[in-house]
Subunit: 411 residues, 2 copies
């Protein structure tokens, strides 16, 4: 138990120091499930130790949330309470740090009307547009991380009793985040440098298209917009110029697809936890960037409702490369949590694009859209990587380059 406390402390410190890279005098918004108040307190301690001006808690509870979706008055799902918009708006404008401890029961919204989820998501997207834009453009430092909760651990390790499942999930999280006791910062920085080297290699090729194929039936061509770049590892906050790590853990390098340039069929390689529901055996068909067909063994209606949220919800917004040989992938664990599962395999997201286009911060929303960057209030990652995945890139000059062979980087 003492060893566990040491690791938790090291993880909390990593999140504050490298995740949001908190500076003296800065405020911190911390979202956390009430069930993990112990970890929130550790993060608050580390934040104040780093000179935080004020730690503001936004507590979450899956069960209260489920009760609301089931029983609240219908009008509730078309609005956001003004105080819930004022906080993110004010704090993102002042450049406060944002640490999200994300750990939900993957099935906590099972049985809820998908239309209520879609409407709430649309209302939230509209009310939080300024906040989301600042987040997307890295105008403030933010970091998403996870800690075990009982319901989540039970879903991931259904054969273990609750204590054992919690312990195992902690172990997997510490491993994925390179937290081994003592100071976790140097190992994390070394890992971030590895991701930077992959980014540089990809950026040298300047691919025009990527062609995905595997035995699951994926046969998809993805066009990349002119001026796109790949990103991954620590990023720079646009306003302060300081590094931060938006995801801990992370294994991905990513860019955006041209919103109307995705064609073919893509099969999800892992179940997807979406809006408190589990989607299995997902298969999407795309024509000129639009999702035109959605099949799934379970949960197709949840995906359908999500893609109907707004205009951009049915187009892709992210292309991410993750090798099969990464700690999360090699653990063989299915986490039912995007932060982990997206880092176990190559993935796409439908919905909003991170504007990985040179000069994006100077462009209007219209210019970005014209350049091919998708826009939506949703952003849903789903995994497509398999051990036999091949990706072939084509450059502007028409040269074809193997990018992935047998599920790993070819270079």
């Amino acid at each position: 138990m003492q060893e566990h406390d040491v690791l938790c402390r090291a993880y909390a410190r990593l999140l504050i120091r490298e995740g949001v890279n908190l500076q003296p005098g800065q405020r911190l918004v911390l979202t956390c499930p009430v069930e993990r108040a112990d970890f929130a307190r550790l993060c608050a301690e580390e934040a104040y130790a780093a000179g935080c001006a004020e730690v503001l808690l936004r507590w979450e509870d899956d069960q209260i949330s489920r009760l609301k979706y089931l029983y609240a008055a219908d009008a509730v799902f078309d609005r956001v309470n003004p105080w819930d918009a004022l906080l993110p708006d004010t704090l993102s404008a002042e450049g406060a740090a944002w640490l999200a401890v994300h750990a939900e029961d993957p099935a906590h919204l099972k049985g809820v009307d998908p239309a209520r989820i879609r409407r709430a998501s649309a209302a939230s997207g509209a009310a939080l547009a300024a906040f989301r834009k600042r987040e997307t453009h890295n105008e403030f430092p933010w970091c998403v991380c996870s800690v075990p909760t009982a319901a989540w651990a039970r879903t991931v390790f259904p054969d273990l009793d609750e204590d054992a499942a919690m312990e195992r999930l902690w172990t997997e999280i510490f491993r994925a985040c390179r937290v081994t006791g003592g100071d976790a910062v140097p190992a994390w920085r070394a890992h971030s440098e590895t991701l930077h080297r992959r980014v540089e290699a990809l950026n040298r090729y300047v691919f025009r298209t990527l062609h995905y194929r595997n035995a699951l039936g994926t046969d998809l061509t993805v066009e990349l917009p002119e001026g796109h770049y790949w990103a991954g590892g620590a990023e720079k906050c646009l306003t302060s110029g300081l590094d931060f790590s938006a995801n801990i853990p992370t294994e991905e390098v990513f860019t955006l697809p041209k919103r109307d340039g995705v064609n073919g069929v893509v099969a999800a390689s892992r179940p997807l936890s979406l809006n408190g529901n589990i989607v299995e055996g997902l298969r999407l068909t795309l024509q000129n960037g639009k999702i035109t067909d959605i099949c799934a063994a379970q949960g197709a209606e949840i995906v359908r409702a999500a893609t109907e949220t707004d205009e951009g919800a049915s187009c892709f917004g992210e292309v991410a490369l993750v090798p099969s040989r990464s700690p999360i992938s090699e653990s063989g664990v299915l986490f039912y949590n995007t932060l982990f599962d997206e880092n176990a395999a190559c993935h796409f997201a439908f919905g909003d694009a991170y504007p990985c286009i040179h000069g994006a911060e100077e462009m209007s929303a219209e210019e970005l859209l014209a350049r091919g960057a998708n826009s939506s209030v949703i952003h849903v990652d789903f995994m497509v990587g398999t051990p036999d995945l091949s990706i072939v890139g084509t450059t502007a000059a028409g040269e074809t380059i193997p990018v992935f062979t047998d599920g790993n980087f070819a270079f």
Copy 2:
């Protein structure tokens, strides 16, 4: 454990049905320590079962709060974040119900600079003035209740292990609230009627002054303002006309003193939990309503800081009568929690007055002050009742009537 669940459910239902008397379509604000999320979920379930439009959680955590008082930037204590003011302001104006599950570690702010507590309290008083006024005038239904937390239970029962202390505290709470399993509403209503009968008896006398005396050294004369009335038990919401119970449990009947009409010495008969600190052996001297001297065996500086919050903080705002023969008093337990301790003994409060003056809702703040109703952003109850307490009332006609003899009502 099953029996326990039944009692918890009955208590939650009592709070929703009789405490705030929630109506279909009404919103509910629920404050609760994160540690008691289980009880918050029960209350939310009961609220939705009663037709609640939306349950809004305001989670609290003593440890996060302590970290803030110890380490946050100094400027934080002179302001209230605008979203924290917008929520109570908006919801009190619309007549939402307000249920506060209050259960703090009585010593969680020990060692914190009292000036920070006083400044935060003043800032909060100013920012929430409209909300507090609506609360004081019963313009929306509100209810304060308590459930055990580990730190609180350990303080109350230091000789028991944590599980036993928690169980014992639950037992005391259920007993004080007349929750015995099944529907708790009828027993609570019967108790409320008993309090109404005491109120009627006191109101018939129209006392001019009350004279308190006991062997602890209390010798205090309290003038009551012209047009005052006594209250207790269920109250009426001014806007809806519906009954609600502002405290569950409650044993008191109360009115307000004339703010400049309190003279003598009063000794607290129990320790007082104030702003996360414990005050022992408190003794106050008053002249023409003003506290002119503060002595205590422990924590005098905490009381001094509180009385310096604003002009009215050093005058009395409440006179409350509680017989020695009441369940909380007879339990012999010292709860270090005002909701219980104030209902174990006669008490006063320094700070803001509940405007128990006929026609108060039509009066301006200035008129109320001129009539003798004290005004402050604080309201601190402290216990003075003892088994030998005598209170003698004097009517306008000069007749003296025994009100309390040997710690109990004389009539």
